[in-house]
Amino acid sequence: MNTGIQFFPDQASDFALRVDLLYVFLLAVTGFFTLLIAGLILFFAVYYRRRQGRERTAARENMLLEVVWSIVPLVLALSMFSWGAWLFLEMHDAPADAEEINVVGKQWMWKIQHPGGRREINQLHIPVGRAVKLRMISEDVIHSFYVPAFRVKQDVLPGRYTTMWFRPTREGAYHLFCAEYCGASHAQMGGQVIVMSERDYADWLARRSPDQTTGPSGEALFHQFRCHTCHHEGSDARGPSLRGLYGGAVPLDGGGTAVADEDYLRESVYEPQSKVVAGYRPLMPTYHGQIGEEQMLRLIAYIKSLESPSESKSSSEVSQP
């Protein structure tokens, strides 16, 4: 048995240091008040113990005191809120150049897909110093992706995507936990986050053991499920073109618009009738049960890469198959 006690986990992301700093501030404030109250109670209980012959009083109200001890906690609590909120907002907005990695949670494992197609289970290899953004979804119940050394955590829901980001600052292997209770093997649903140097990460991405196939790419899936038969640029297309679709506003049948984000794209494949694009008939069948969450993430990555016709003219050599 290791008898040492730590008080802080490893600090391995730039959030770690900043959360710890806020934590120390909270410890200082709350520690002060705990000692103050405990000290006063002990002192009064001993000093004014019955039959001690002290001066007694019947004073029982003091407006000034009441105001002071309402305002001081209020100001301190609001300063805690402000500091915490400021950091929380930064935790939410990933930098634009963040490396996007897909995560699918299921009872009881984490399935990870790297942009190049490399996949892994219960391990996440990432390069040090670079912002990493995770796009996450669950195939069954709610899970929660938690890396204590980075001080980040985000629930992973079935049915829609959640994201989180962090920038690892120190190479090493750190705990990955599932923090939301998810059933029998909840405590086993975890593994390691391995932070590597840029060069090691590049090597690791390129290395591929023979049994570790990448699976079909998003583009291959697009053709395998024959999406292109309806979604093309021709005037006789039965579905809207998907070029340049991502991130824009889509006019809907019956009025209103939807923003074409990842959740919209996913919903439109699984439940095509729920938001029909204006000017098209609701012909598309559901792909529930045919396309899994992992394939869906690749398919969406492919659709996001399709540039709008005007843009693609300038770079047609690259993006055309």
């Binding site: 040492g4 705990t34 109250i37 405990a38 950091l87 204590p148 939301e180």
Partner: protein, 542 residues
């Protein structure tokens, strides 16, 4: 009306099971509740003993995960719904509210008896669910795990909790009406003991909040049993909707559990400091402020759930506001001690312990309301430690303090003061050793609800388990000496503590209808003077 022979008290006025099980006397019903919740407490505690044993070592070697999961679910469900929520209101509140108001009984005695039967039916159904296979969802029943994936008795348990909720509602209605309509002549609102104010605030939460829990739990049963899609995305539902409904009740429920305890502590502190409570109106209104704010902060359980960033910000700032009325109470209790005449009797030890532990529990709540820190410690042992400081360090200490304070009134007997003090100190140290290490574990990142954990968390878990064994003994000792006092205890007399308050002006145990003649109140609450037992009281300044 049965005519009561004079000189009889509520205990010896009639004998036999019938006279208890069909009693409409609020005092007898309080005793029924006391026995019931003690039984549930022992069941819930036994589960805790088992999983603390499991957590002595890092691998899951004593219990398989399925058993462990059922045990922490059992512990949570039993302790919250069948011990903490009814503990102070249904036992002490039931016994004392009419006495403190100078009333013969609660406004609706039959409703009161019905609430106990409903409580027992709900409790026994839940116990049945636990015995015949158990439930493994945690007391939070998060969807879609509870509706689609859990392979256990979720529906039966849901029915049990659904039914039990009605006993809370009936108790709440009874208390509200009694407080409004049955106060003795001269007992104005601002002469009420703070115990009554606290129960009034609690009752409001019970009546307004419990139906929402009933709805949430009913919807879980409907989705699970009939496949109606409400929460499960596979059926077109939204899993976060459940969390909103659940916490809309279950966060205020925290205040259902702690407010009555605060009422108890206000009574104890004033009595054993021989001093009128400092800032009476501030303590009274802070109870109401906590009750109201309590309904606006549920989203702080969901900062990392995927709710919107804006919602996170709003719930964080509102949660911070709860710090103010909580701080006001703690400061006023502390100021009450100043220049008092303080006696260290057993109830006072519990009362002082309560203030310390509640302070620590409340202050650690600030860490959880601070968004960026919560992201790290949410769903870790930090949260477990925090709410045990409030629920056990706060509420159970207050309950035990109240039991020791009013035991002479309830039974007419004094218990062993030496054993009382000994176990109060034991509970305080055992509690801190159990739960303080869990704050550290949580910040280190140990998630909740893990039956196996990495090696580096070992030492702190051993400390916690060792503390739990001390705490367990600290809870068993009062059970023994309190029972012994029934036979061997000294006669208490009407007012062994020289306490103010109408409940002390009637014999112990009280007669069936509480007072021989309706009391008339002509002085403020807690009209103590610190010099009561030294010199003549100073002239009234108000």
């Amino acid at each position: 009306m049965i005519s009561v022979p004079s000189g009889k008290n509520y205990l010896d006025v009639a004998y036999g099971a019938r006279s208890w099980l069909l009693s409409l006397d609020h005092k007898r019903i309080a005793i029924l509740y006391m026995i019931s919740i003690t039984f549930y407490f022992l069941v819930g505690g036994a589960a805790a003993v088992l999983f603390r044993l499991e957590l002595m070592t890092p691998p899951g070697d004593l219990l398989i995960s399925e058993t462990y999961n059922k045990l922490f679910t059992l512990h949570g469900v039993i302790m919250i719904f069948f011990f903490l929520i009814p503990a102070v209101p249904a036992v002490l509140g039931n016994f004392l509210l009419p006495l403190m108001l100078g009333a013969r009984d609660l406004a609706f005695p039959r409703l009161n008896l019905a609430s106990w039967y409903i409580f027992m039916i709900g409790g026994l159904i839940s116990m049945w669910a636990l015995v015949t296979g158990g439930v493994d969802t945690g007391w939070t029943f998060y969807t879609p795990y509870s509706t689609a994936y859990a392979n256990s008795n979720v529906i039966l348990m849901a029915v049990g909790i659904f039914i039990t909720g009605f006993s809370s509602i009936l108790t709440g209605i009874n208390f509200i009406v009694t407080t409004h309509t049955m106060r003795a002549p001269g007992l104005t609102w601002f002469r009420l003991p703070l115990f009554v104010w606290a129960h009034y605030a609690t009752s409001i939460i019970m009546v307004l909040g419990t139906p929402v829990l009933a709805i949430a739990i009913l919807l879980v049963a409907l989705e699970r049993g009939l496949g109606i899609g409400i929460f499960d995305p596979a059926l077109g539902g939204d899993p976060l909707l459940f969390q909103h409904l659940f916490w809309f009740y279950s966060h205020p429920a925290v205040y259902i559990m702690i407010l009555p305890g605060m009422g108890v502590v206000s009574e104890i502190i004033t009595c054993f400091a021989r001093k009128r409570v400092f800032g009476y109106k501030f303590i009274a209104f802070s109870s109401l402020a906590i009750a109201v704010l309590g309904f606006l902060v549920w989203g702080h359980h969901m900062f990392v759930s995927g709710q919107s960033v804006l919602a996170g910000l709003v719930f964080s700032v509102l949660s911070m506001l709860v710090a103010v009325p909580s701080a006001v109470k703690v400061f006023n209790w502390t100021a009450t001690l100043y220049k008092g005449s303080i006696a260290w009797d057993t109830p006072m030890l519990y009362g002082l312990g309560f203030i310390g532990l509640f302070t620590l529990g409340g202050l650690t709540g600030l860490f959880l309301a601070t968004l960026a820190v919560d992201v790290h410690v949410h769903d870790t042992y930090f949260v477990v430690a925090h709410f045990h400081y409030i629920m056990v360090g706060g509420m159970v200490m207050a309950y035990l303090g109240g039991i020791h304070f009013w035991w002479p009134k309830i039974t007419g007997r004094m218990y062993s003061e030496w054993w009382g003090k000994f176990s109060a100190v034991l509970v305080f140290f055992g509690f801190n050793l159990t739960f303080f290490p869990q704050f550290v574990l949580g910040y280190l990142g140990m998630p909740r609800r893990y039956h196996a954990y990495p090696e580096e968390f070992h030492v702190l878990n051993v400390m916690s388990s060792a503390g739990a064994s001390i705490l367990g003994i600290g809870y068993l000792i009062p059970l023994i000496y309190l029972l012994l006092s029934l036979r061997f205890g000294k006669k208490a007399g009407a007012n062994p503590w020289q306490a103010k308050g109408l409940e002390w002006q009637t014999p112990s145990p009280p007669p069936p209808h509480n007072f021989e003649t309706t009391p008339v109140v002509d002085e403020p609450a807690y009209n103590y003077s610190p010099d009561d037992n030294e010199i003549t009281p100073p002239p009234e300044s108000a």
